[in-house]
């Protein structure tokens, strides 16, 4: 019988091992065991999440490809499609921040161009521990330079994303990388084998010993010995990937190939099984022919290596020479390593002997699926008692402190390290509600945003899932885009803990409900479990990547005030809600709920109104109210125009001033408009039954907020700007 230690090293249970024996009719050898262990890892086969992921809506009028492929695809008209996906690279980024993040970028780019799309934009959602503690600053510097180095070199702009902080990420940073590409609908490619006799080509970098068991590593908790796992992290070569990108797009454009699959997690194992499995065929190949970086590699190492910048291509025999010529033009090798067979088996020979002989279907489709036990935690989230929270005597100081909190402060220190303009499509630069890219040759633009508020999800996972979808859609709406598709990255702790599984289930159900309300399909995503180090889990962190479309790029709306003397209005209603707010955390060091309520039908109406108003050209600016509440939202509006412009506003609500200014009630958008357009807007708002309140007007050099006829806050825009602008550079001691 098998040594339990070997099974433990492969993260397989005895039951799973027995299933493997049943499926292949004998005991697997070491290489075959390796194949099953990576393909059946949580990272590759979603064994704990599948039962819940099924609850997400995936259908929609414009969906060309939903979940199950390298990326989702949505029709945007004109014969074009957007191809997008998000992936986590959390574990490697903790072990080796620079390479971990860099190869995260490399991996998601391959997912996109494998399908025939030219990558147009990258976004990242990053979560770190507090900058003053432990290795957090070094981790953040490493992650940001890793992303910068890979994306800048390959020439895909990093146009946005989010960076937030919480102590739970200290030993487990989150690096979620999103990529969107543009494809012609008649040039979309999949992992397909065509017919028996087709040739299997290996292209790109040689296979080395790096990254062996990366997928398995991402499917287990970290302990103190994590340092030893450094060799499991791959090393990226963006130049090689650029060559691979151009060569792949060229063979696709010339219709030279039948199918293609990148070698990401689980490398050669994943590609040699997925390609034939999707066509109900087999694949037979010679491991000796796989280009290798070093001598003496075992079949086990060759199959499990996660060396970067590699692809598997299937081509008809007659086209192989032409494929080779294209790769040679880009100084890359394309080597025939085997062919497609009719048997339905993966057969690999090594040194003349058969080393691998397993049914591909067993590897791909027979992965065990678990409906793991879930249970709400015994201790419910603490609730805020407003009586026990004194209102700060100096609201202005609290406001400035909030602006300087790392989660809210300006992120230019991060995004100016990324080339966000290459390809000359970025018409709305980082820092706005969403990134917007024009589609050359059309009047259209695509908008993208990444969002997820882990503090809300920690207080109430179901609400957190709903709120994340609502906020992401609201961000797109603010720039004038209609949401068309969703991808998600779900970062959680150990799914074997019932309370983590409960968080996961609740988040999914919340997201599903919200996606249905907005009628947007989920076209794919990624689950990252086991974000636990030394027994402690991260906050449940759903990150939503939502893509929107602007039919007319000229109708784009930006967040900054445009001119003096314009009307400032609030669409939506100010609730008396302070739970889960950044103000509670940053100013009072308290993490209490409940998180803000959300009425999905109100939210949908609000967003429809905002898009209708921008479509009619009524909006001069629009900005979503989120972390930091109204005060921070308005400050950002004052900062983000071509020049700083103040405002003088009045609020009448009967509630505490700090709750009004800093509470994070949902379904609110601050807009400005020309005085002449006021009646038109009010008419629209009445028709849609959305509250629209005039707050005051733009102008002056101060941010002035009156509450119930009393001046509550007066801060010069320049001073607020300094607090917001300098917080991050100061944290890194760079002026």
């Amino acid at each position: 019988m098998i040594d339990p230690k070997i099974l433990a090293d492969h993260n397989l249970t005895l039951e799973e091992y027995e299933t493997i024996i049943r499926l292949i009719g004998r005991e697997p050898n070491r290489t075959e065991l390796g194949i099953f262990s990576v393909m059946w890892s949580e990272h590759c086969c979603y064994k704990s999440s599948k039962v819940h992921l099924r609850k997400l809506p995936t259908e929609g009028r414009h969906v060309i490809q939903g979940p199950g492929e390298n990326a989702g695809i949505i029709d945007i008209g004109d014969g074009l499609a957007v191809v997008f996906k998000i992936e986590s690279h959390n574990h490697p980024s903790f072990i080796e921040p620079f390479q971990g993040a860099a190869t995260g970028v490399g991996g998601i780019l391959r997912d996109i161009f494998t399908m025939g799309a030219r990558p147009l934009a990258l976004l990242d959602s990053l979560r770190f521990g507090p900058l003053g503690a432990g290795r957090n600053k070094a981790i953040m510097e490493g992650v940001v330079s890793g992303i910068s180095s890979y994306g800048n070199s390959i020439g895909v702009p990093t146009v946005g994303g989010e960076v937030t902080f919480d102590p739970s990420y200290s030993l487990n940073p989150l690096v979620n990388v999103f990529c969107l590409g543009l494809a012609r609908q008649d040039k979309i490619f999949y992992a397909r084998a065509g017919q028996p006799g087709n040739q299997v080509l290996y292209v790109g970098s040689k296979t080395g010993r790096d990254g062996i068991h990366g997928a398995t590593m991402a499917s287990a908790e970290f302990g103190k010995e994590t340092e030893h796992k450094r060799p499991n992290v791959q090393v990226g070569d963006p130049f090689k990937e650029k060559l691979l990108l151009e060569a792949c797009l060229e063979v696709m454009d010339k219709n030279l190939i039948v199918g293609i699959q990148d070698m990401g997690a689980a490398g050669l194992t994943c590609s040699t099984t997925e390609v034939p499995a999707k066509s109900g065929l087999g694949l037979s190949f010679n491991l000796d022919l796989v280009p290798q970086r070093e001598a003496g590699m075992t079949p086990y190492e060759i199959m499990l290596s996660e060396s970067q910048e590699r692809m598997l291509i299937v081509a008809e025999k007659g086209k192989v020479e032409e494929v080779r010529r294209v790769f040679a033009k880009w100084d890359l090798e394309a080597v025939v390593i085997g062919e497609i067979t009719s048997g339905g088996r993966l057969v690999g020979t090594f040194g003349g002997r058969t080393e691998i002989d397993v049914p591909v279907e067993a590897v791909i489709n027979r992965c065990p699926v678990y409906n793991r036990k879930f249970e709400p935690p015994a201790r419910t989230a603490p609730r805020l008692d407003l009586e026990s929270l004194p209102q700060p005597a100096d609201l202005e100081a609290a406001f400035l402190r909030l602006l300087a909190s790392p989660t809210i402060a300006d992120k230019e220190w991060v995004f100016r390290q990324y080339d966000h303009m290459v390809q000359t499509n970025t018409i709305l630069l980082p820092g706005a509600d969403a990134a917007v890219l024009r589609i050359k040759g059309t009047a259209k633009a695509v908008a993208m945003t990444l969002d997820g508020n882990a503090a809300f999800a920690a207080l109430d996972p179901r609400a957190g899932g709903r709120l994340a979808v609502a906020e992401a859609c609201r961000n797109l709406t603010c720039v004038g885009a209609t949401p068309i598709g969703v991808t998600n990255c779900l970062n959680f702790g150990n799914p074997e803990k019932p309370e983590v599984m409960w968080q996961f289930k609740e988040v999914i159900e919340g997201m599903a409900e919200a996606c249905r309300a907005f009628s947007i399909p989920v076209t794919g995503g990624n689950v990252s479990f086991y974000n636990d180090t030394e027994g402690a889990s991260i906050l449940p962190t759903p990150v939503l990547g939502v893509v929107g479309l602007l039919e007319d790029a000229a109708k784009m709306v930006t967040p900054g005030f445009k001119a003096e003397g314009e009307v400032v209005m609030l669409l939506g209603r100010n609730g008396s809600e302070l739970g889960g707010s950044e103000y509670l955390r940053a100013v009072h060091s308290r993490e209490e709920g409940p998180c803000p309520g959300l009425d999905l039908s109100e939210e949908v109406k609000l967003q429809e109104l905002c898009r209708e108003a921008s479509g009619r050209g009524l909006l001069r600016s629009a900005h979503d109210v989120s972390e930091g509440g109204l005060a921070v939202c308005l400050a950002e509006c004052a900062f983000l125009g071509n020049r700083q412009i103040g405002c003088d506003l009045d609020f009448g609500e009967e509630m505490r001033t700090d709750v009004l200014l800093f509470g994070e009630s949902q379904s609110r958008i601050v807009i400005t408009l020309r005085p002449d357009d006021l009646d038109k807007l009010l008419g629209l708002a009445r028709k849609k039954h959305v509250p629209a309140v005039i707050l005051g007007e733009t102008g002056g050099t101060d941010l002035v907020f009156h509450h119930q006829d009393r001046e509550a806050v007066r801060v010069p825009v320049a001073e607020a700007y300094r607090a917001w602008k300098e917080a991050l550079p100061e944290a890194f001691l760079i002026k």
Partner: protein
């Protein structure tokens, strides 16, 4: 006028330059593959931005050995117009067509942002439509743009009016703060003595359409086009 945009395997601003010349300015424009041996009759050769060969060694260090670059060197020798943008500028220095070298930015970070430039030299083939002292707003995107040249070279260049652009504030004043990458004498762009080879770190092709908030980059391309016989 016919433009040729050189494509190295790691060029990534080649399409951007092509887009502005071909689709915005409606010029006859071709791509020139770095392994080819002729310039297809181009009147002006553009070396675009990017990471020509990955630039792991030193930006532009390998690109100069590309077969096409011998043609470009001879073309420049004969007085042909050559414009190097960002990585293209670095390659021109590696080839010896322009003096100096690039160090890493003063704060050792990649910088992508809009900056201001003061035009120092009017009347060249690349700046005929501008006037001395004029301030342009263009984006930069580089990690190695901290210009360096030995003191005697620098002095000779300054005397000979070879400095064409300097980093400045929006009013055209020079300062340490405006000199974001730490370049000697705030140098952002230089020209050879003969006046036919220009290199600059900022990206004019990223600021040649209204949608980007600045069209100042057109000054360079349109100077070339409008004065072509």
């Amino acid at each position: 006028m016919k433009f040729g945009v050189v494509v190295f395997p790691g060029s990534n601003c080649d399409y951007d330059a092509y887009h502005v010349l071909h689709s915005v300015l409606k010029q006859d424009t071709v791509f020139l593959w770095h392994k080819d041996l002729n310039l297809q009759g181009a009147d002006c050769v553009i070396l675009p931005g990017g990471f020509s060969y990955g630039d792991y060694l030193r930006s532009g260090a390998i690109a100069r050995f590309s077969p096409l670059m011998r043609e470009v060197a001879e073309f420049a020798e004969r007085g042909g117009l050559v414009l190097g943008i960002c990585n293209g500028f670095q390659i021109l220095m590696e080839m010896g067509l322009l003096p100096g070298a690039m160090l890493r930015n003063k704060r050792l970070k990649f910088l992508c942002q809009f900056i201001h430039l003061r035009l120092e030299r009017e009347g060249t083939a690349f700046t005929r439509l501008g006037r001395r002292g004029q301030v342009l707003r263009l984006p930069i995107a580089h990690y190695e743009g901290n210009y360096y040249a030995p003191p005697e070279t620098l002095e000779e260049m300054e005397r000979g009016g070879q400095v064409v652009f300097r980093y400045s504030d929006r009013e055209g004043r020079l300062s340490d703060e405006a000199n974001v990458n730490g370049a000697l004498n705030s140098i952002a762009g230089i020209i050879n003595r003969r006046g036919n080879v220009l290199g600059l770190m900022p990206h004019p092709e990223r600021a040649s359409e209204a949608v980007f908030g600045s069209q100042d980059g057109r000054l360079i391309f349109e100077s070339l086009i409008k004065n072509w016989p």
